[in-house]
Symmetry: C3
Subunit: 112 residues, 3 copies
């Protein structure tokens, strides 16, 4: 199992969520973050205004998926989150050793 | 060392925290998240009302523990978080390579 | 690639951010958390007042870096976050399998 963390523009959350559901992702969590990437010190357009890029609001979408779902999920996120303007975001993938669905006690990919 | 991430119902936080402390967990962090699992599009009971399950508020408890604490911690969380109703949550376990306690400079399991 | 998660005192965020930038870290994300460490049940000084340590506000800084940046980043965070008082925080390091820069499609360390 893999955890996919995608830090995206907040207004893209619904599109990314739908794209993930379209490839079969059954659950996800969203956290509000603030951050910056390579333009730190330069400006980024946010809500029509030029901002100094020092901690812009982003949302982080976290979903744990089975190994065979990783590539479709990455393609779905990338396509849905892209605006071709700076600040579109980053995706990080890491390994998950175990998953448990609390209500049923199911483990592993069955728990997702 | 392992990181345990438990996404639970917010009103269960105190019980989960106490259950973890009872098995010797010495530190944890809590983040507010919103999310959904398999009932997306169906309804889940939240504060007595029927909700369309499109991002319900949850809390994520994160704790890094020594390898021998993983199983007791998972049992503690599962028992404390379960209500037997949908939406009880998910637990994910992943590997942590290094830990540092900033004040003392201790590293590894000594730092937890 | 490694993910560094540093849970620090909120007023130390700017110093930690600058210390990371000084060693070449190009991006990071910040999440508000609440948590406790080993003094649970004892008191910790927060904004000049004695608090019972039951979930104090902290910030979690997350940055994904190339392997050769891990040690400088850990030293930067430790030096910048330390006050030598309890509650200075914890740093956790874990492995990241893949990174994608959404706008450009770059992958791996090139994406950071
Ligand atoms: N190395 C990193 N570690 C952790 N979070 C990061 C990292 N790089 C970027 N982020 C997060 O992703 C968000 C979006 O980054 P962003 O898309 O601006 O990256 P970028 O490399 O500057 O790409 P672009 O040139 O397209 O803007 C940041 O605000 C931050 O929250
Ligand atoms: N695959 C996943 N990846 C990341 N977060 C998830 C995933 N599945 C669930 N979550 C998070 O856990 C929360 C609780 O999930 P939930 O307990 O509803 O899972 P479920 O599979 O639908 O089980 P149940 O049938 O008992 O409701 C969600 O709101 C979401 O925040
Ligand atoms: N094992 C852990 N897992 C996850 N988060 C932790 C853990 N330990 C501490 N934290 C987080 O780090 C924050 C700061 O911890 P803290 O610095 O108080 O650790 P400590 O071991 O008590 O060290 P000190 O004695 O210097 O206070 C906590 O509020 C919590 O959010
Ligand atoms: Mg950028
Ligand atoms: Mg559910
Ligand atoms: Mg402490």
């Amino acid at each position: 199992m893999k955890k996919i963390e995608a830090i995206i523009k907040p207004f893209k959350l619904d599109e990314v969520k739908e794209a993930l559901q379209d490839v079969g992702v059954q659950g996800l969590s969203v956290v509000e973050v603030k951050g910056f990437g390579r333009q730190k010190g330069h400006t980024e357009l946010y809500r029509g205004a030029e901002y100094v890029v020092d901690f812009l609001p982003k949302v982080k979408v976290e979903c744990v998926v089975g190994d065979e779902q990783v590539d479709p999920a990455l393609e779905a996120i990338t396509a849905a989150a892209r605006t071709d303007k700076i600040g579109d975001g980053k995706i990080f993938v890491s390994t998950v050793d175990q998953a448990i669905r609390i209500r049923t006690g199911e483990e592993g990919e069955d728990a997702l």
